[in-house]
């Protein structure tokens, strides 16, 4: 009896789900959400290059610049620019 009721409830749920899935609103909303997710994922992917660039500047320039020697800083900047 319990099983039969459970099966019936599942059937009803399945029918409702199918009905909702068939609606344009659901379709639109899901497509919209997927598009938004894709855009966010793409933005996250682009962070890899930004972080690589920033960490490159930090490692190659800012750390050696800590002595604040103006002449050396100029040379360092010039040298760094030649390597990118």
């Amino acid at each position: 009896m319990v099983n039969a009721t459970g099966e019936k409830a599942k059937d009803v749920a399945r029918k409702i789900r199918d009905k909702v899935r068939g609606t344009k609103a659901f379709d639109r909303s899901l497509r919209g959400r997927v598009a938004a997710l894709e855009a966010e994922l793409e933005a996250d992917r682009q962070l890899h290059r930004k972080i690589a660039e920033l960490s490159d500047v930090v490692a190659e320039l800012l750390v050696p610049m800590q002595d604040r020697d103006e002449k050396q800083v100029r040379e360092l900047l010039s040298q760094y620019r030649k390597t990118i």
Binding site: L41, E42, R45, Q46, L47, H48, R49, K50, I51, A52, E53, L54, S55, D56, V57, L61, E70, V73, R74, L77, Y80, R81, K82, T83, I84
Partner: protein, 520 residues
Amino acid sequence: MTSAEITAEGIWLTDPPNEPVMVHFDGRYLWSFTPARDGARQGRVLVSWPGNLVRFLDGVTRLRLQSVDGETVWFDAEHRFGTSTDRVAVVNRAGEPLSVDKVGHLGRAFLETPDEIKREILVATQEVLTVLREETGVDAYLCYGALLGAVRNGKMIGHDSDVDLCFYSHKTTPVDIIRESYRVERIVRTKGWTVTRMSGGDIKVVRVLSGERKCHIDIFGAFTIPGGHGEGGRTFYQFGNRSGSFDAEADLLPLGTVTLEGLEFPAPKNPEAMLAFVYGPHWKVPDPSFVHRDNPIGVVRLNGWFRGFRDDLPAWNDVYDQRAGDVPRAASDFARWVAEQIGPEDKIADLGAGTGRDTRYFAKTGHAVRAIDFSRRSFARTRRIAGEVRADQTMFNELRRVLVLGARLARNPRHLYARHLIGCLDAEARTNLYRLASVALRGGQAMFLEFQATAPGAPVPQPVGLVRRLDADLIAAEITAAGGRIDYRETVVGADMFDDPDPAVCRMRVTWPAPKKESK
């Protein structure tokens, strides 16, 4: 029965062959295609001439369409394009014959390259490989067409026109792979070779051969990243755009060797597996018309992770090549307008200098100018301008170059001059420009902007697809949010980059007030 008709549009085929077709002009290989893939059915099948070939098609040639092995000939006759009675000459400036490669570029096919030059190219390639392996310590190997030729018969593929190298990074995160590529680039640059960064994962080295000939050697990154569409929960990627299931541990490393034109090169441990991965299961069958069919998911990932800082560059280079003559040489009205507002000794950075028309004007009127553009075509022009001019190549989407430029400008203050630049920049590049300005203008100099503004009925700006109209309110809001102060703003009837009239050109003068120091 296959028959062909040749027109200015392309090659019309009736009953086209189900195999690659090779096109010869006056007995020389020029191009190849596969009708079913490259043609458009309009009753007959039309295979259009590749875009890069069209400008050469004026004159007479003996045109032959044949199979790869040359045993079947579908067309062989004199044909006249256009009005010229000269022979059609698809050649470079040195008069050397060119052919169309698999990505539509014109190059010098090995088939038409003298043996001694081929030898020089291979020796130059070996030298690059030695630097990669011994000085950068990476696992670098011969790949693509050169590997295919080596495995097939030990010879370079006749229709190929370049040599490609790859190196395998053991890093598994894009950011680390990019940093490794930077490291490799730095070491390669110490050799004095010209290096161009094509993406976060690949660079191009130019080697100069005898007789000022140049050979381009691509150095592509390869790596395995967890997840993706590859089998076993990981995906192997190899630049350009290859991705999928390839077991680097089983089939790539440790590297073996192959012999090409009598020289030994490092190669994947199992070169056949690599060739099957790159060219598919039929890699043994010669197909000069082959084009890669890359997994779109893999391409999206590679684009997101590694690319995005030079997307418009090829199109801009085409503009410089084809339309530079349409840009007047005389100073723009905007340059004169700016000149009235600055001191006679003031220094200027011309951002997005283009053909250098305004760089020339400022230099001529006694200003020291730093001309900055992302295209080498522009760099080649501006660096020749007389006066106190320094040319620089900087991409506004590449943060580290912008930061370095900002640091240099901060030490040598200049006004920033940007005519028709920001309409070419995306939001990220504009943010970088404001960052640059905030650093460079601390001494009280100004940034002068001119751009085509949105307005009802205003035409699409030229060059189409490379320039956008911008909402002046939006730009003002961006600048203010970035700490800038708009001292002057007007939208007037002006001109575009070709000096064609434009109904809505916005001019701005912007300064960056120094941030207030915290009182102790």
